[in-house]
Amino acid sequence: MGDATAFVQILTIFVLAIFVGFEVITKVPPILHTPLMSGSNAISGITVIGAILAVGSGEHNLTVILGFVALVAATINVVGGFLVTHRMLRKFQRKEQ
């Protein structure tokens, strides 16, 4: 597979994902905007995958150091983001029962 073909393929994924994002998120009501933000924020910590690959493949010190900083930062983003969103959402749910 040529470079261009591969690029078009992931570009397709990118563009379609943006459309899915728009469709799904336009429906979120304002009362949930903060949890939406912190929850999506946690999802943006997906860079943790990139960090794992960087630390894992790095033979050179600088790659490992940069990757390790990224790994810690992204993990804080992921774990903290999902947890704090959960904390907030439980408050919204509790009154319901």
Partner: protein, 468 residues
């Protein structure tokens, strides 16, 4: 099936979980499950990567995951709900930092193989994505840190503006682009990536410093979007589907939120980023509007008015968060409801310092989300409302937004509290809100000013009401 197929299928499942999770966040009933689905998707993506990739240093990676998890958990569990905007800003910054660092690590690794093996040049996609990731990631990182500082009170909340600001910003932006082009043409010169990240840092500082406290909801939403775009760019660097999908979902989400916030202020994004609220407020001076027309009230009088009311609406603003007055507000609403009165909360989209800020504070107090009304839902009901209590809000209830086209808030949709029979304003003084203009509502015939600290004023009101 080979392992690459398995990995991609597993990433696909993670992507589906992210999308279904975000969809779940669309309703309070499904939101907890939605968030959990997102978390499971993330766990799946991480485990897949750990198992499949050729990992040379597993203990180091586990150590990194452990340290990050501990810090994240402590931050998420120890923070007070009132400090939520800062925390969201901070987490966002970590995401941006991670993207910039990963791109840096990869570009360095690649430059090694370039010089040692004289391998072919990396593809254009890789290089452009690296540059984008470095620039956007570092802007997100430092921008979020400054937003955090402003919300925490470490950095001034006031807009920091100066002459030639736009020129300086443009020059830094252009030099960032120039460095990106240089890096793309000379990928073996790793130090260029460092300069690029430095330009991003400088740009982030220049972009967020001039933005004032009340515009924070827009900036936080925008930075949220950037962190997603940075993650997607990193996905292009690594040709990794899950990064691209998750990143663009978040990018789209942030852009939608930014757009909603801008609409709620009747301002364009360009105006928030480059224009200036509080430039030169025109219109009648404070003295002309307020002179002799301000009617002051006290807890006992408000309590009596509330006794005879049928329908009461609370309109909270950032002032309620600052004074931490939400607990007595809840107590007051419970007292009123116990006597069969109808109580609702009218919430302006940009009230507070992040999208949905007031809702989180009130939900924390166990107030049912069904009583939290959006602007469009609550506005038609003000003429039938006996008493509206405005606590710590100002610009979002200023009737001048409807009337005067020359004011800085002209055209901004507001809560029409002035249409209710009686308006009680709880506020420390007559000082203007963020827009820096006087509010004719304070001098209106049906308005009573109840001066004081929000929390103290509400507590006094609660006890006065119990005694009435």
């Amino acid at each position: 099936m080979n392992s690459i197929t398995m990995v991609n299928l597993s990433y696909l499942l993670a992507a589906v979980l992210f999308i279904a999770g975000l969809k779940g966040l669309g309703h309070p009933k499904t939101a907890v499950r939605g968030n959990l689905m997102g978390a499971v998707g993330m766990l799946l993506a991480i485990l897949t990567t750990l198992i499949s990739a050729e990992i040379l240093s597993l203990p180091l990676i586990l150590a990194g995951l452990l340290i990050g998890s501990i810090i994240g958990t402590v931050l998420a569990l120890s923070i007070k709900m009132t400090a939520m905007p800062q925390l969201v800003g901070l987490f966002n910054g970590f995401g941006g930092l991670a993207s910039a660092m990963v791109a840096g690590a990869v570009v360095f690794q690649t430059s090694l193989t370039l010089t040692e093996l004289a391998a072919g040049r990396p593809g254009l996609q890789f290089l452009i994505a690296t540059a984008a990731s470095g620039l956007i990631g570092s802007v997100t990182f430092i921008g979020s840190l400054i937003a955090f500082g402003k919300l925490q009170g470490i950095v001034t909340e006031k807009p920091v503006r100066y002459k030639g600001e736009q020129v300086v910003k443009s020059l830094v932006f252009l030099s960032g682009i120039a460095l990106a082009v240089l890096l793309i043409r000379n990928p073996e010169q790793v130090e260029l990536y460092g300069y690029l990240a430095a330009a991003g840092i400088l740009l982030g500082i220049l972009l967020v410093m001039p933005i004032g406290g009340a515009d924070m909801p827009i900036v936080i939403a925008l930075l949220n979007s950037y962190s997603g775009i940075a993650a997607a760019a990193t996905g292009f660097v690594l040709s990794n589907n899950i990064l691209i999908i998750a990143g663009s979902l978040v990018g789209a989400s942030g852009i939608i939120l930014t757009n909603i916030m801008c609409k709620a202020m009747n301002r364009s994004l360009a105006n928030v980023l480059f224009g200036g609220v509080g430039a030169v407020p025109e219109g009648p001076a404070e003295g002309d509007i307020y002179a002799g027309k301000i009617k002051q009230t006290a807890a006992e009088e408000v309590a009596m008015i509330l006794k005879s009311a049928q329908r009461v609406v609370f309109v909270p603003g950032y002032g309620m968060a600052v004074a931490r007055a939400q607990t007595p507000v809840r107590q007051m609403s419970e007292l009123l409801e116990a006597e069969g009165k109808e109580v609702e909360f009218g919430i302006h989209p940009v009230a507070g310092r992040m999208p949905g800020h007031m809702n989180v504070l009130l939900a924390e107090e166990n107030i049912s989300y069904e009583k939290l009304r959006e602007m469009d839902q609550i506005n038609p009901s003000f003429p039938q409302t006996d008493v509206t209590i405005v606590i710590g809000a100002n610009d979002v209830v200023n009737p001048r937004a409807r009337e005067a086209s020359d004011s800085p808030i002209a055209g901004m949709p507001i809560l029409n509290v002035d249409q209710s029979k009686t308006v009680i304003i709880i506020k420390r003084s007559l000082s203007p809100g963020f827009a820096g203009i006087p509010n004719p509502l304070f001098a209106a015939d049906n308005t009573l000013m109840y001066f004081g600290d929000g929390k103290k004023a509400m507590e006094d009101l609660v006890s006065a009401y119990k005694e009435t």
